[in-house]
């Protein structure tokens, strides 16, 4: 009996030899319990070792393996072949990023954006560890918890039309993280952080398309974070300009 197979159309680009990206077809064994990443690994191991892509955990938590699968940003380690079989599957690097090689995108701009929102606790007076943990009730934790679940997989940047048009827009994941710290009861960095989060490149850059939350594999709901960020930024504006005595 002939083995069942499926075709992967994979975008290739090797900067040392290719002037433009092109597509290469690979026929791979079809298994119901295989994810797209398994198929890519099979190609790499048995057919063509020159195909490059990132992966590590293979369990949807390290954020390495995001790619465009049939035109949608997906984590390839939890996208099953069975969703597409018997039709061919097109695999491309995430859009809205420069390509380093094949399916590997350049992360530099994101890392700069991440740093801009100051994703660390800022305190005016620091407690020593000997004084023990800060108190934080489950309700206080709940306020920001969802926005702390981001794995930096970049799917939302590939889905966001604003990122595509305005590369300087901080983007869904970085903003969600900024809002996460704004909402953390332990944080006192409101003013410093608001400068970036509440700017034109920040929450006000978002035109509320909502695609980011659609594609997010971790249900971070960055669109909701940005909406909350807008509310906080407006509050901030009122505090600063209308009632300067009310600033914290």
């Amino acid at each position: 009996m002939a083995e069942e197979t499926i075709v992967l159309r994979v975008q290739r680009y090797r900067p040392e030899q290719d002037s433009d990206p092109y597509f290469q077809d690979y026929e791979v064994p079809y298994r119901k319990d295989w994810v797209v990443l398994d198929a890519l690994n099979w190609i790499k191991e048995y057919k063509d070792g020159t195909l490059s892509f990132r992966w590590s955990c293979r369990m949807g938590v390290c954020g390495s393996c995001g790619m465009m699968v049939n035109g949608r940003p997906r984590l390839t380690c939890n996208t099953f072949l069975r969703e597409f079989y018997p039709n061919p599957i097109t695999v491309e690097p995430l859009v809205n990023f420069d390509i380093e090689r094949d399916l590997v995108i350049c992360m530099d701009t994101f890392l700069e954006k991440l740093k801009k929102v100051k994703p660390w606790i800022i305190r005016r007076e620091v407690k020593s560890p000997e004084e023990g943990p800060y108190n934080q009730t489950p309700a206080q934790l709940y306020r920001y918890k969802q926005f702390s679940m981001c794995i930096n997989c970049m799917l939302c940047y590939a889905a966001c039309p604003v990122v595509g048009m305005h590369p300087e827009f901080l983007g869904p994941a970085a903003l969600a993280l900024g809002v996460r710290y704004l909402l953390d009861s332990r944080d006192q960095g409101w003013n410093e952080r608001m400068e970036e989060v509440g700017s034109h490149e920040g929450v006000w850059g978002c035109t509320f398309v909502g695609e980011c939350s659609e594609v997010c594999p971790k249900h971070v709901d960055p669109a909701a974070a940005i909406q909350q960020g807008k509310v906080l930024a407006t509050l901030d504006w009122f505090k600063r300009w209308l009632m300067p005595w009310g600033q914290k």
């Binding site: 090797r14 900067p15 040392e16 030899q17 319990d33 790499k44 191991e45 048995y46 063509d48 070792g49 020159t50 490059s52 892509f53 990132r54 992966w55 590590s56 955990c57 293979r58 369990m59 949807g60 938590v61 390290c62 954020g63 390495s64 939890n78 380093e100 090689r101 590997v104 992360m107 890392l111 991440l114 740093k115 100051k118 994703p119 660390w120 606790i121 305190r123 620091v126 560890p129 000997e130 023990g132 943990p133 800060y134 108190n135 934080q136 009730t137 489950p138 206080q140 934790l141 920001y144 918890k145 702390s148 679940m149 981001c150 794995i151 930096n152 710290y181 953390d184 332990r186 944080d187």
Partner: protein, 597 residues
């Protein structure tokens, strides 16, 4: 040739241990320049996958004595007791620091830290952030580390070799993945934080990136690897992928049953089961909350009795959490539900989860003291790649995340002190080593056009290790594995790559990783061969008893011109003389020794 990239401290690895070490150096002496070299972006490190939690004494009903005793008895008395005492004493401070840095620890209604029980513990002391503890710890550490200006990030740089001069370590040779450039990254101290080596085996909870690189780099530089024969199998991995179902599933009350629905652990000296609805269930250090080595061994025994189930990926048993109900599962174990649905195709709210023991953790690693120092001046190690040892023959679950913090910090502090006193290296000697390494890589991997593909060598090594150096071992089985590993090393000399380009050559990286794994496997086999006793995770069917007379000692594996040589080092015993490990009804603290002072 490109210039050396100069720093004061070079840290290899951006997981929990590496990031904690980087922050420690930056805080101890802000004038020092720190390089963090990581083959994947730090937030991708496999610390990210740790689910269950991190141990530290914080509750009034717990005590340092209990944590120490659980760790030492869990380790089957092979842990150094001075190291364990220090670890337990510093653990609460480290987890508190992480709290101050923003880690979203789960909380009690009053806002204090919540804790849960883990296998092998007398009292619950595991701090957790739902069931994504490692993820939250790693991202908290990474985001916090971003604020330190003296840290330079070498993201996606792969270290291939240690730079040495006059018997001291002065940095690493590393490949920048994006360009393929091979450069020397120099500092007066190097801290290896490269994580474990689970990928030496075919079924593992470990990511593809856990290939023992740091262990191999140190081993090649003449530094011994300690206690490599102790490999922890986790009793509940998913068949096939090896993806972990956290111990927290059992901590919350999940049970293990065989093909007849029988809670088979009761047959293996782990106590008697209570009904799942009994308010006293689950009982600590009993049944499903016994230690990992015993649970994995019980599985093999059940398999031999023909009482396991059979599936496409071999034998398995069932982990049942249905009685917890959907609400509790979603609240306490959401990731377990997500993983089981995605990768086992079942919803644990309605069906039990198929599981089997899979390789999880290396108790062994680069030989260090309690300050992370190795015998090679200038070289430090911390985290899973190191062996201090607090884990002995069997690591207590949820100690290793804490270990990364405690010993990452200590190594960072000591390295920061050391660089003040270390002499300057001879730069031209280091440059020569970089050139030699670049030549070697080009000739051995990028220019060869004929030979054997990587994958067959890797699979042969992995299968040999599982067969010969698995949960149960004999002289013959280990020798067979070692012979196979030596054969694979031979074949590796003729490995051929498809990819001969420079930019983001992931096939080259896979080859260098396999080369590291072959060295690790070799040391592991030799140590397993020469430890002629059974202790913790090392079970020799030809020597079924623990032998404190001869083997209350750490093994040290050295690489020499004629093979791996094993030396032995006494275990440090302070207050807890070796005793029998007991679980089930008569478990707990002994009447003398442990619970004094």
């Amino acid at each position: 040739m490109a210039e050396l990239l100069k720093h004061d401290v070079v840290i290899v690895g951006g997981g929990a241990a590496g990031l904690r070490a980087a922050i420690a150096v930056a805080e101890r002496n802000p004038s020092l320049s720190v390089a963090v070299v990581s083959k994947i972006y730090p937030m991708r490190s496999h610390t990210v996958s740790a689910e269950g939690g991190a141990a530290a004494v914080i509750k009034g009903n717990d005590s340092r004595e209990h944590h120490i005793y659980d760790t030492i008895s869990g380790a089957d008395w092979l842990a150094d007791q001075n190291a364990v005492e220090l670890f337990v004493d510093e653990a609460p401070r480290e987890l508190t620091l992480l709290e101050h840095w923003g880690c979203p620890w789960s909380r009690e209604p009053d806002g204090s830290i919540a804790v849960r029980p883990f296998g092998g513990m007398k009292i619950e002391r595991t701090w957790f952030a739902a069931d994504k503890t490692g993820f939250h710890m790693l991202h908290t550490l990474y985001q916090t580390a971003l604020k330190y200006v003296p840290i330079t990030w070498y993201d996606e740089w792969f270290a291939t070799k240690l730079l040495l001069d006059k018997d001291r370590c002065y940095g690493v040779v590393a490949i920048e993945l994006r360009t393929g450039a091979i450069r020397g990254i120099v500092g007066k101290a190097v801290i290896l934080c490269t994580g474990g080596a689970g990928r030496v085996y075919p079924f593992t909870t470990n990511a593809i990136t856990k290939t023992g690189d740091g262990m191999a780099l140190a081993f090649r530089a003449g530094v011994p690897l300690k206690d490599m024969e102790f490999v922890q199998y986790h009793p509940t991995g998913l068949p096939g992928t090896g993806i972990l179902i956290t111990e927290a599933a059992r901590g919350e009350g999940g049970i293990l049953v065989n093909k007849d629905g029988y809670r088979y652990l009761q047959d293996y000296g782990l106590g008697k089961p209570l009904d799942v609805h009994d308010p006293r269930h689950p009982v600590k250090r009993t049944m499903e909350l016994g230690p990992r080595d015993k649970l994995s061994q019980a599985f093999v025994m059940e398999m031999r009795k023909g009482r396991t189930l059979k599936g496409p990926y071999g034998d398995y048993v069932l982990l049942d959490i249905r009685h917890l109900g959907e609400k509790k599962i979603d609240e306490k174990l959401p990731f377990v539900r997500e993983l089981a649905r995605n990768y086992a195709g079942i919803d644990p709210v309605y069906e039990p989860i198929p599981v089997r023991p899979v390789v999880h953790y290396m108790m062994g690693g680069v030989h260090t003291d309690v300050d992370g120092k190795t015998p090679l001046p200038g070289l430090y190690a911390a985290g899973e790649c190191a062996c201090v040892s607090i884990n002995g023959a069997n690591r207590l679950g949820s100690n290793s995340l804490t270990e990364c913090l405690v010993f990452g910090a200590r190594a960072g502090h000591h390295a920061a002190e050391y660089v003040g006193s270390a002499p300057d290296p001879d730069s031209s000697a280091l440059e020569q080593q970089v050139r030699d390494e670049a030549d070697r890589i080009r000739k051995q991997f990028l220019e060869r056009t004929e030979g054997e593909r990587l994958v067959s060598i890797r699979k042969d090594m992995q299968n040999a290790m599982e067969e010969g150096c698995g949960i149960y071992r004999t002289e013959q089985s280990v020798q067979a594995a070692l012979n196979k590993v030596e054969e694979c090393r031979e074949r590796f000399q003729r490995v051929v790559l498809d990819d001969h380009t420079n930019s983001f050559n992931t096939e080259l990286i896979a080859a260098l990783e396999l080369e590291c794994m072959l060295d690790v496997a070799r040391a592991l086999c030799q140590a397993a061969l020469e430890r002629r006793e059974s202790r913790g995770a090392h079970q020799r069917e030809d020597y079924p008893a623990r032998d404190d007379e001869k083997f209350l000692k750490h093994s040290l594996a050295y690489r020499t011109a004629d093979g791996v040589k094993i030396e032995w080092l006494d275990v440090v015993i302070t207050k807890w003389p070796p005793a029998e490990r007991k679980y089930g009804a008569d478990s707990g603290l002994p009447s003398e020794g442990g619970n004094k002072s």
